[in-house]
């Protein structure tokens, strides 16, 4: 099936779906919460609250992994890494919900020490109890059987696999190969081995990994978005202030909505389409309930 065919079938089936099954499925439409405002901590909390609050995800005594994008040695205003205040708000929420421990990490592209400092995340999480901002350690990667279409097996990070709750916190930004990098692509930060090899078949590879390592909650930082020269940018001309935080339990739906901020359609993003087809979530905006928080 090629894309054209797929879209035709998807379009037609949605027609039937709409006419006959709408009432039945209305309750199951995935929810994407969008909070807007200039106080990033506050809107992060609001977006999660609109999904039922952090207590819905984190139970007392849980080990929570928060996986922001800390890939680049750039400052927060460059929109290359997840905003430190968004990360901080989520960490605090997880602690309030009773998390035993909150771990924050990313497998950075630039020197991780510089990334952690320059992203502002090290400073934001300084002196917080039960919170570990930690470097990725090679020995913790574990070969995981994925049995996907692109990847048979791949090394994934042990602490992400063993966490009780995995919260995926990407920043919405441009990417040369995948056009955008959002929740689905952010999962690369817990992948080991030579990640450059993935680029050969990246859309399916990302679906393969996301099918196994599911994000319990996806919070997309769209407080400011990088519209060109991604994924690391560096030019403030490419940054647009959007003051939004997007949250969902459906990673595809969250990505689909975030795509619209760039003036693109979800179907333009190969990774979103591949994940949708794999049944990892909903990409049709008319079948997603968007809640303004």
């Amino acid at each position: 099936m090629n894309r054209r065919m797929f879209l035709a079938i998807a379009g037609l089936s949605s027609f039937f779906y709409r006419s006959y099954l709408r009432d039945l499925s209305a309750a199951e439409m995935p929810v994407v919460a969008v909070a807007e405002g200039k106080e990033y901590e506050k809107i992060t909390v609001k977006a999660v609250a609109a999904l039922g609050g952090m207590k819905r995800f984190v139970k007392s005594g849980d080990v929570v992994v928060i996986k922001p994008n800390i890939g680049w040695d750039r400052r927060p205003e460059h929109a290359a890494n997840t905003h430190p205040l968004v990360v901080k708000a989520l960490v605090e929420e997880a602690l309030h919900a009773g998390a035993k421990r909150v771990k924050v990490f990313d497998r950075s592209c630039n020197d991780e020490r510089r990334c952690y400092v320059n992203s502002g995340i090290a400073e934001a999480l300084k002196n917080m109890k039960q919170v570990e901002l930690k470097y990725v350690e090679e020995e913790r990667f574990k070969k995981v059987l994925l049995n996907g279409t692109a990847l048979r097996e791949w090394e994934l990070y042990g602490e992400a696999l063993s966490a009780d709750v995995f919260i995926n916190v990407p920043i919405a930004k441009h990417h040369g190969l995948t056009r955008l990098t959002l929740g689905l692509k952010n999962i690369m930060g817990v992948m080991g081995e030579n990640r450059g090899n993935l680029h050969r078949n990246i859309d399916h590879a990302l679906a393969d990994v996301n099918a196994v390592l599911r994000s319990h909650l996806v919070v997309i930082d769209a407080t400011r978005i990088l519209t060109a020269h991604g994924p690391q940018g560096g030019d403030l001309e490419d940054v647009r202030i959007t003051n939004k935080v997007i949250a969902s339990t459906d990673i595809v739906a969250a990505d689909a909505y975030a795509t619209t901020l760039f003036g693109l359609k979800p179907a333009d993003i190969g990774a979103t389409v591949a994940a949708y087809r794999r049944g990892l979530g909903e990409m049709n905006l008319n079948r997603i309930r968007i809640v303004r928080a």
């Binding site: 040695d73 460059h78 592209c109 630039n110 020197d111 020490r113 510089r114 400092v117 320059n118 090290a122 570990e132 930690k134 350690e137 090679e138 020995e139 913790r140 042990g158 602490e159 063993s162 990417h175 040369g176 190969l177 030579n194 990640r195 450059g196 090899n197 680029h199 050969r200 020269h229 994924p231 690391q232 940018g233 560096g234 030019d235 403030l236 001309e237 490419d238």
Partner: protein, 511 residues
């Protein structure tokens, strides 16, 4: 209680200072390193003199060395007995080794035959002094051999614990994090010439079998230089010869009683003789009588011989294999190869501090004259865009210390695609990892999208990368991250024209 000589206390303090600074010569969360082990070189008169002779200029960075020279002229060779960390290590490690007998071949003027040809070679623009500078020898042995070994041993232990304990190792993490953040090298990098560097150091220790402070009195070019300066010292040990009724000094003295008369140029002012003199005869006094018959000054033969051999030395080491030159990448900010060789101390600090372990000592890439000088090997590590540490720790500013926005614009080399390897070209497979990693805000690696048939005949949208030369600073991250095995699909090549990128390449500066 036995009284500890002040010299010994000073030695230990300086050794601790040296080791602390050595460990501090690493990225520890701050963009600036305020104090690094380069301080020892900046107070090193051998570095100073060779810099002045080779570069034919002075730098205020080396003012402490000038002061050290002045104090040596006033007081004598106190550096060797009170400060030199290599001397201290020799004293500590080899104190228990029983000495056999001095090696005859090392006696005489050998150390001057080492020092003066080096000085003349510098005058002829080839500064090789760093190869034999005692502090450089020590730092290289530590940086290339002992420190990585130590780091790797601890790290492997830590990994081993994980294999045994699994995730319950986390309880020990705070302790390990403390070690990692304050004591260990962050990366366990292995260096070429590690063995040679260690060997040179161990050889110096081995020489102690024959004679106390063998290196210091018979070979060390810094010691020889300080000895010549110290000859003019007004500070004198009295009596100037062995007393006929005692002669204990011949045994006590570590350096200067080879004969009846005190060899003043070898006296390191440890003052052991003062403390141990059974009849309280020994005194150290400032006298108005600098003349010392026993002191050595190079004669005409030495000067002429050194001139000739220094000149020869400065020329015969210059052969360079052309094929290696195209990949000879120097640290950021180095624009002129000759000027760089005139100033580089070969101390290895830039390589130690390099964030991504991109710098390695040259073996033969820069010819014999370039041994131990730093070069960037992008396949092993790249130059981090925002980092300026190598320039900061360079003792002589052979690598200039530049503000970040200037350093980003300096050109190390230029990236070139190898279309026979690069995936979109060779295999019609999309990749673009290099473009993704290119740190230049405007992107020195860009791509064009073209519809083509892949190798199976299917129509594909290919993203084909290319390099914009005017924006490429040669940091090497593209070559480093290229996912191809072995040879990279993009490589950095050396260029003659190292004009910095124009400021507009880093547009966010405008703000």
């Amino acid at each position: 209680m036995k009284k500890i000589p002040s010299a010994r206390i000073a030695q230990l303090l300086f050794l601790v200072l040296f080791l602390v600074l050595f460990i501090q010569t690493e990225y520890r969360g701050k963009d600036e390193i305020s104090l690094a082990v380069n301080s020892f070189f900046r107070a090193d008169p051998l570095v100073l003199i060779n810099y002045v002779l080779a570069a034919k200029s002075f730098t205020w960075l080396l003012l402490p060395a000038l002061l050290m020279l002045a104090f040596t002229i006033l007081l004598g060779r106190f550096f060797c007995g009170w400060i030199c960390p290599l001397g201290t290590i020799i004293d500590l490690v080899t104190a228990k080794i029983t000495k056999t007998a001095p090696i005859r071949a090392l006696k005489g003027n050998l150390k001057y035959w080492l020092l003066f040809p080096l000085l003349f070679a510098s005058l002829f623009n080839v500064n090789l002094a760093g190869i034999f500078d005692p502090i450089a020898i020590l730092i290289r042995a530590l940086t290339f051999f002992f420190y990585p070994l130590f780091g790797d041993a601890v790290r492997q232990g830590w990994v081993g614990l994980y294999r045994i304990m699994g995730d319950s190792r986390d309880y020990l993490t705070p302790g390990y994090a403390l070690l990692r953040d304050h004591l260990l090298p962050y990366r366990e990098t292995f260096y070429p010439l590690a063995f040679t560097s260690a060997l040179l150091f161990c050889l110096i220790l081995f020489l102690e079998r024959y004679e106390q402070r063998n290196w210091c009195r018979n070979l060390c070019p810094l010691g020889a230089l300080l000895g010549i300066a110290g000859k003019f010292s007004l500070f004198k040990r009295l009596p100037t010869r062995l007393c006929s009724d005692c002669r204990d000094c011949a045994v006590i003295c570590p350096t200067s009683f080879d004969s009846e008369i005190l060899q003043k140029q070898d006296c390191i002012l440890c003052m052991d003789c003062l403390l141990k003199c059974s009849s309280a005869r020994v005194k150290f006094r400032l006298t108005g009588q600098p003349r010392d018959d026993a002191a050595y000054l190079p004669g005409r033969r030495m000067i002429l011989g050194s001139l000739v051999s220094g000149f020869a030395l400065s020329r015969v080491v210059r052969f360079r294999s052309p094929s290696l030159q195209e990949r000879l990448l120097r640290p950021p900010g180095v624009t002129d190869e000759r000027l760089f060789l005139e100033k580089c101390v070969r101390c290895g600090e830039c390589m130690k501090v390099c964030l991504r372990s991109a710098l390695y000592p040259a073996i033969h890439q820069a010819g014999a004259e370039g041994i131990f000088t730093p070069l960037l090997i992008p396949r092993l590590g790249y130059c981090e865009y925002n980092c300026t540490l190598c320039g900061q720790v360079c003792p002589t500013s052979a690598i200039p210390s530049l503000p970040p926005n200037e350093k980003k614009r300096t050109v190390i080399g230029k990236a070139v695609f190898d279309k026979n390897h690069c995936l979109p070209y060779a295999k019609k497979i999309n990749c673009i990892v290099c473009e993704e990693h290119c740190p230049i805000p405007q992107k020195a690696i860009r791509s064009e999208r073209m519809e083509e048939r892949d190798l199976s005949g299917k129509r594909v949208l290919l993203i084909k990368p290319y390099v914009v030369d005017e924006l490429c600073n040669g940091c090497g991250i593209c070559e480093n991250v290229c996912p191809l095995e072995g040879k990279s699909g993009i490589e950095i090549f050396a260029v003659k024209d190292k004009t910095p990128l124009r400021a507009s390449a880093l547009v966010h500066l405008k703000r």
